[in-house]
Point group: C2
Chain length 335, copies 2
Amino acid sequence: MQKSPATLKAIAEQLRVSVSTVSRALNDHPRISEKTKSRVKELAEKLHYVPNPAALLLKKNKTYTIGVLLPFLKEEFFSLAISAIEDTLMPEDYHVLISQSRDSLEREKKMIESFIASRVDGLIASVSAETNHYGHFKALEEYGIPVVFFDRVPRNIKCHKVRNSVTQGAKEAMRFLVNKGVTKIGLINGPGNLEVSGERLNGYLEAAMEFGIDARQHYIKSGNLTREETEQCMMELLALEDRPQAVLTFNDYVALYAMSACRKAGVEPNKDILFVSFANLPITSFLENPPIASVEQFASKMGAQAANLLLKCLQNQESELDYQEIIIKTELIIH
Amino acid sequence: MQKSPATLKAIAEQLRVSVSTVSRALNDHPRISEKTKSRVKELAEKLHYVPNPAALLLKKNKTYTIGVLLPFLKEEFFSLAISAIEDTLMPEDYHVLISQSRDSLEREKKMIESFIASRVDGLIASVSAETNHYGHFKALEEYGIPVVFFDRVPRNIKCHKVRNSVTQGAKEAMRFLVNKGVTKIGLINGPGNLEVSGERLNGYLEAAMEFGIDARQHYIKSGNLTREETEQCMMELLALEDRPQAVLTFNDYVALYAMSACRKAGVEPNKDILFVSFANLPITSFLENPPIASVEQFASKMGAQAANLLLKCLQNQESELDYQEIIIKTELIIH
DNA sequence: TGATGATGTGCAAAAGATTGCACAACAAGG
DNA sequence: CCTTGTTGTGCAATCTTTTGCACATCATCA
């Protein structure tokens, strides 16, 4: 009853030729006659022949599987990126294996072991909020598995990166607020080990310098991106005597958490205190009072670029050495 | 430079024993001496030996990979379910291959072909909004690949299902509204080919009957779950002379779309017109005026149950015949 | 001492696809 | 007629792991 998938052998027997002839026919080997080729291809089509991935892995050492490792699937930024990654890799006949680190370093390590066990051909990753060293990623490279980081890329490490012009974006956001006459601006940033946090901070500080507003130390908060810590940060900002008039947040989710903390404290977000965030996720369009502006990060574009870069790595292994860095320009979207 | 993963052969050579001895030692074969076993296991550990999945597939005809097919990753309901599926399957050493149908039947078919090509051991699926026949799923069963449907399960088809007591939930939602004194209640439902749409409608109609309110035909709308059609449905409801006082929506996203349509029309949602939705996703907690109630569907629990059912199918193939149906009780959450 | 049983290990085949090499058939040229 | 070249196909090894069978060693018992 239970059909098993067609094999070269099955085709060969039906056609009374050898397995090698079938293999060569399907691969358009020049030494196979046109007549044989068409007979083979026809039957293969009819039987829905698909090469057994096990055999391919054994012979070619390729699984045609790409791992994607990211913090949270439920964050729209990442699910948008994944869709773009899928759309880029699927036409090239790659499968996509997705795993969530849930911002835990331990899980991230486990997932990488699992990727090695399943012999992925390459990895696209956005590191967890806890990640402060990268030895587990190095292990992949030792096995010749190329890794492309996107968005949350490692600090001070030579690797393939696809990232945003975050510093630039932060500065623009600040300029926007300053132009509105706001001078007291808070920052709820992500953890310091992320390069993207450092860049936001740089943009914030550079802008403060350039626009002559003072970036007081107590305006700058940094959390681990969870709801709890973010609300805590926001509470601290609200408790200040010279409470900021606006807050720049690490991303839209942090903005949502912070805004809900405001409401709990009886402060109306985007009226009493303005928010500008990063990411510009569709989700914010459902809010009555969304952040007044957001630095668009083009999640889809980042995902697509990361996937394309990985494809390049897989095609010519020479280029594994000179690491590429692709920077996607952000854009301030005013709501 | 480029290490390749350790093989049985490599271990065997270093230990000057045969490959079969190594294999048996790692599998705790009784005929292998304890001394040999510990020598082998030690070295295997040291070399980070992991069996080559290709060889396992060839010998055992198993990939230890489970496919998950669902409409949209970006919908929190599904990403919550996926996390639960991962948490259930990973301890059993299964990998999870995720694909999105994006509510397109054509994509759904393609993804299933791809799952067959990669020889998944089983599939967990939630069908697309367009799906009105199930031949492509039947193909999986012909290859002996068990399928468990969750949430959006097929209509009138014998199969493994994990679903909610949706009819019950819809009735409770209606009771809640009627108790508030609301009698004119609209319904923005999903497409008719989904069983879950039929159940919502049944609940709506049964409640109308039971509570003696008239369920006028023009209060009942059914869309394809996209933003566009949903807004269209809402517009039609708003345009009615005897405009409904409340609307029951297929899920939270439909509620968000409908509510935004209201605002565009100058109608304040949950003040001028009340909303009750399905799913109760965390996302709604960020709204200032969320739907006044939501039928909690317990996405995580559904995912976990679906994964467990699939595991059972994989363990004893006898039970493939008697299809199971697991019903998760919904719960009305008042916001 | 030769038979029996227990214990530990190795050989070889099997799964599916690819590929270098060998071989057969045939035509053309000397 | 024999050589050379071309064309089409098959054989066999290879990748890694598992497993039935065979074999060797040693102890035990009649």
